[in-house]
């Protein structure tokens, strides 16, 4: 088993499925059915294969595992280099878990251009997995940016009424951030003479240069995450994207930003990260409070969840830049938890949207009387989002706040208000949609969850509870890698302090 090129297989198996779907010919309904089946089969197989990574992973080392290396562009010293460590490995699994769920969730709601839709999702899976596995900055950028193409098409072709505007906004916003990062990565490459991420992780850059590169990378990751004030593309993209598109957007795409901070900003530019940490904290605290208040005022369910994502992702930046072991672990855990919970919440909205074609909170109310199972599922994920103990959200937020307290009590205090506000807007949403009297005629014939929909939610429920009740295996996987980053940051801080003393 050890010799299998797991990562390449997991990355490129979906492409094989996409190629297969591309050649399907025949009557439209047969093509659609076959496309769905092939897509589900491929993504399911990919998920099973990715479990192999989980079981063969050695959590006792911070080194990269399952490494694969091949010559790619020798003239530029750029290689095809894949590998995962404790930070990236869980994200690979998150991606491979969510794609089959997305495909299952769009089984009946997507009726036009099913073939292209499935191809787009499989293409996306390749890009997502590739981003987390890439150990060469050019390869990383390739996948990181390549995601834009399928996502642009998914929003633009299968989205809602303002899909064109949203698709463009999403694309151009992220592209503008990323190209600056590209220049930073190129500078890094020419300075260090290599594009190999493991070598760059231990390369010491001069402090002045670090600050520029950190800022350029920050532009890319802050847009992707998204951080206030560059978050405005997110509500638009979420609202207009089809359900599965929102799931991937919230579930995995946003994590690119957090992953980027952990993989690039913190270990490669440690001194700049320490210098700029107050900036990140300030933006994060605004991002915790302000979008939460905005979320309270939303009339559109998807928009509300989108704003809640901004607030939740701000926890990630606080945790990451607290530069403590619990903080960074909390940040990763929060990303994974948010990946599952917010993805599930978009699916939850998708269920009623498929039935009534309305996302307005005002057009619902009292659904618990017609759809008890649905109400239960919704409640579980709502509480996961609030961070109730026993769900995954609690572990993430708790660790982040713990880390933040170790770093600075004020930052932790302000961030903690987000927990309260989060409970406020999520419970308010739940009350308006699920509870109360069932008075609207349009809702009186609503059907409860179908077996297919239950199948969509079942794995997510299991994961949320497992992560909430027994987080140890997941934390164990990332622990050594996180420690490695934090140690590097401690060394940098000591060096900074020493040079500050010397100046004095």
């Amino acid at each position: 088993m050890g010799n299998l090129p797991f990562l390449s297989l997991v990355t490129f198996l979906p492409l094989l499925g996409a190629a297969f779907i591309l050649v399907i010919r025949g009557a439209p309904d047969i093509v659609a059915r076959n496309a769905r089946n092939v897509a589900l089969l491929t993504s399911g197989a990919t998920f099973l294969l990715s479990l192999g990574i989980w079981f063969n992973f050695d959590p006792s080392t911070a080194d990269f595992q399952f490494e694969e290396r091949a010559l790619w562009m020798p003239a530029f010293n750029i290689a095809y280099h894949m590998g995962v460590d404790g930070i990236s490995m869980p994200f690979v699994l998150l991606s491979t878990l969510l794609i089959p769920i997305c495909i299952l969730a769009s089984w009946t709601s997507i009726t036009i251009r099913v073939k292209e839709y499935m191809i787009a999702f499989l293409l996306m899976e390749t890009m997502l997995v590739g981003t987390f596995c890439a150990l060469d900055i050019i390869l990383f950028y390739l996948f990181f940016e390549g995601v834009l193409i399928p996502m642009f098409l998914i929003i633009g072709v299968w989205g809602g009424p303002r899909r064109v505007y949203s698709a463009f906004k999403f694309f151009l916003y992220t592209l503008a951030g990323s190209v600056l990062m590209l220049l930073a990565l190129l500078t890094l490459y020419l300075h260090a003479g290599t594009t190999d991420i493991p070598s760059l992780l231990v390369y010491d850059l001069p402090t002045g240069l670090q600050q520029w590169l950190w800022l350029a990378c920050f532009a890319a990751f802050a847009v992707k995450l998204p951080m206030w004030p560059v978050h405005t593309w997110l509500p638009d993209a979420h609202v207009e994207a089809p359900t599965a598109g929102s799931v991937i957007l919230a579930g995995v795409l946003l994590k690119f930003g957090g992953y980027g901070f952990l993989r690039f900003s913190l270990p490669m530019f440690p001194e700049a990260s320490i210098t700029f940490a107050p900036l990140v904290f300030a933006l994060s605290i605004i991002a915790v409070v302000y979008p939460s208040l905005v979320a309270l005022a939303q009339e559109d369910m998807k928009k509300l969840i989108a704003y809640s994502s901004v607030a939740h992702m701000a926890f990630v930046t606080v945790g990451a830049f607290s530069m403590t072991v619990p903080g960074v672990e909390g940040a990763i855990f929060q990303m994974l938890s948010h990946g599952v919970v917010s993805a599930a919440l978009f699916l939850v909205v998708g269920v009623v949207y498929d039935r009534t074609h309305s996302r307005d909170i005002a057009s619902y109310g009292g659904l618990v009387h017609r759809m008890p199972v649905y109400a239960l599922v919704f409640m579980l994920f709502m509480l996961g989002s609030v961070g109730l103990p026993g769900t995954s959200g609690f572990v993430g937020e708790f660790l982040v706040l713990l880390g933040a307290f170790q770093h600075d009590a004020w930052v932790a205090t302000f961030t903690a208000t987000g927990v309260i506000l989060g409970a406020a807007y999520m419970l308010y949403l739940y009350r308006r949609v699920i509870l109360g009297a069932l008075v609207k005629d349009s809702l009186k014939r609503m059907k409860d969850l179908s077996p297919r929909e239950l199948l969509v939610f079942a794995p997510l429920i299991v994961v949320v509870l497992w992560m909430g009740v027994y987080p140890d295996p997941l934390l164990g996987v990332m622990h050594v890698s996180v420690q490695n980053i934090v140690e590097r940051l401690d060394v940098a801080r000591a060096a900074l302090d020493a040079s500050a003393l010397a100046v004095r």
């Binding site: 562009m73 530029f76 996948f143 940016e145 098409l153 151009l172 190209v179 220049l183």
Partner: protein, 448 residues
Amino acid sequence: MIRLGVVALVLTLLLVVTISARGAVVSFGGMFIVDDYAIFFKILVLGASALSLLIAQEYLEIRGIARFEYVVLVMLATTGMMLMISANDFIALYVGLEMQSLALYVVASFHRDDVRSVEAGLKYFVLGALASGMLLYGASLIYGYAGTTSFSAIGDVVGALQGATPPVGLIIGLVFVIAGLAFKVSAVPFHMWTPDVYEGAPTPVTAFFSLAPKVAAIALLLRVVIEPFGDMLAQWRQIIVFLSIASMLLGAFAAIGQTNIKRLMAYSSIGHVGYALIGLAVGGEEGIRSVLIYMAIYLIMNLGVFTCILCMRRREEMVEEIADLAGASRSNPMMALALAIFMFSMAGIPPLAGFFSKLYIFVAAVQAEMYTLAVIGVLSSVVGAFYYLRIVKVMYFDPATEPLDRNYGPELRLVMLATAVIILFFFLYPEPILSGAGVAAASLLSGS
């Protein structure tokens, strides 16, 4: 008739390929040079000419202008380009350039019953003659101050200055020569003719204009500034930097409002020249190599785009408005997919070839620490992405109007498929273009 032309060009291409790997050869009293650099560009130009002839046939028949002169003129122009690429002397340069240009003026107005086509030809002629005049004036000044027209001899004169400020006359001469050549590559501010000529000329002619002559002119520009004036880098770099920034910005912003796809491609080509000039401004082997890679990939992308444009017809009539593409993803799925691939590639989105061509340019720029140029470059590529995406949007997001015809011939299908496959899978095996460009760049620099 067209077939014969294609065969002749392909045979020439084979001849050019077989003479490679012999080192630089100079003949005609030092006027004509064949080195790896020239061979690289000759392969590009011959390939581009042959393929743009191949895709022209159907259009010419539909518009009723399938006359044998077309092939003759294109081949004459190609001969001129061969001469330009191999020019090692200002006299040879001018002869090659004029041989190319005169044929191009005629071919631009080839559809002589069409007002726009005739206007395009006339406009191109008047402005082209002005540019030739400037170039000639510059060359005569250079002759006056250097005492020779040979590139290598001028190189010796400039080298003998050993870093001292060159005589003002030489600098002014160089400025005029660069201005004349900037006209030929349609760099801002000498780009005015491009949108009108691209829009007015028959589409296969536009395709040809945007491919072979542009590449040949870039080859010439590179050789002129690197070989004789390589030691005056400090003097010409600022001109190239200005041309580059102005072209990138104008190419990005002026294209936004266009509704005609040929006009849009004109602005797009202006923008692309701006990127290529970044590499030239950097200079050195890295910079030159990145320009060569850029031009090779640009050629393939543009060929693909124009093949798609030649497939745009409705009820046996050619159409060229962007809005005509609405719903093409339904009526013409393969053409729409190919065009979408080219558009994403032109916007520089990985993993398509267009990303790599920009990547190498920016690697060179960052290496030379020309950060301003690099930052303006990446940001204008974001603006550019907007209008490339607009075409994808029209094809994929907009509801279908009347569907486009699907009866285009096998040549168009073949070229479209081949170019799309190359652009899509370039990343798998980039080595041939990279090493070819590397060898060519090295040979250009060793000659100076």
